[in-house]
């Protein structure tokens, strides 16, 4: 066999080996993580019901004639509160005689976003004659983007501030029932 042919075969073989190694099947661990029960300790203190319009205008590529438009309106429920899973007995410091108590809790965080399919309405859908209509997959991809925009808007909504305000009111009410007169809530 001529030398150059041997070199070519060796190169092709090496490429297959390298590519084959790179594409070795990996164990999918996602299934294991999903199913089952888990314990949490979250105190939900505020819910924001929000509305959002999700719209897209697909003008397409230069070789596609006509456009497609779609518009959804949706309702989502955001819940915020404090995660009490790290709460320990040492986080409460009290003096019964003086009637003072100080409780340290974590800062408020977003606990859940719920965008039920039943509350997503397709308001408008227009497709030019030479274009194909929106598939279920395309519609879902658009709704996913809408969900992401809602998640991104959380800091500007003031929901976390409202949750901390409600947390303060909640603990003050609870500890005042226990007979404490001076109650301090600290967010750490």
């Amino acid at each position: 066999m001529p030398r150059c042919l041997r070199i070519i075969f060796a190169t092709i073989f090496s490429a297959f080996v390298v590519l084959g190694c790179g594409r070795a099947p990996q164990e999918d661990t996602t299934l294991k993580e999903i199913e089952g029960l888990s314990s949490v300790k979250e105190l939900g203190l505020v819910e924001f019901r929000i509305r959002k319009i999700i719209k897209a205008n697909d003008v397409g590529e230069w070789y596609k004639i006509g456009d497609r438009k779609i518009l959804f309106s949706c309702t989502a429920y955001l819940k915020a509160g404090v995660d009490m899973s790290s709460f320990r007995i040492e986080d409460v410091v009290y003096d019964r005689e003086a009637g003072t108590v100080s409780i340290s809790v974590p800062h408020a965080s977003l606990l859940s976003i719920n965008m039920p399919p039943s509350e997503i309405k397709l308001e408008y859908d227009q497709v030019s004659m030479l274009r194909s209509s929106f598939t279920a997959q395309e519609r879902n991809l658009l709704l996913r983007q809408g969900e992401k925009q809602i998640r991104d808007s959380v800091p500007s909504l003031g929901i976390l501030e409202k949750a901390e305000e409600n947390a303060r009111a909640f603990f003050v009410s609870l500890f005042s029932k226990m007979g404490f007169s001076s109650i301090e809530v600290i967010f750490k």
């Binding site: 939900g44 009490m84 709460f87 409460v92 399919p117 039943s118 996913r144």
Partner: protein
Amino acid sequence: MEKGKTNTREKKKITITVSPTLIMLAILVLCILWTIIHMKNKEKRELKIDETPVVVEKVRTLGELTTACYYDELVLQGSKRNYFSTTPLGVLARDGFGKDVDDHLVIVAKGEVRAGVDLLELSGEDIRFVEDTVFVKLPEAKYLDIIVNPSDFEIFAESGTWTHEQVTRLQNTAKERLLQGADYYGLKMKAYEGAMDAVTTLLEAAGYTYIRFDHAPTYIKLPAPKD
């Protein structure tokens, strides 16, 4: 002289024969390049939604203590007759060749059920403090949220045309199946136990030694009183 003329003619012939081949090759190369660029930019060209504002409709104060979650991954399958299956050719394909011509939709859905107790349901009489003992009557545990968002759905297979309403109907079945799973695994019981644990920690932190839970649901085994 004669020889020189022949050479020029041959050169012209070569130019004339080679040029279309080169053009064809150039077109082929361009087509290949275009396909590569097209494939590479496929993700970048993904249909994008416009930026729209988020409008807060309602703000509700909560006191929900979520203590247990149930997660599951479901496969939702739907099929329906399409126009072709009703035509003679479609009927022939179905009966004669055993070929399925229906429209199919397969969705993989990840969902979550969150359960706990609503502390806002606690009235003044439900917590009684007697010296170093607290008597608590916790409200029953309930499902607080059933969450299946668009990002939890994956359209695995789709054939034919499926309207938004048809897809939504199929997606809504995920909710019922998640609740069945949560019931099966006793999520409410686990949530109630978790709530008792959380309330005990909080009250013990405030200096109470004995915490008694009254009127717990029958499925709950109350902890033995401390001596």
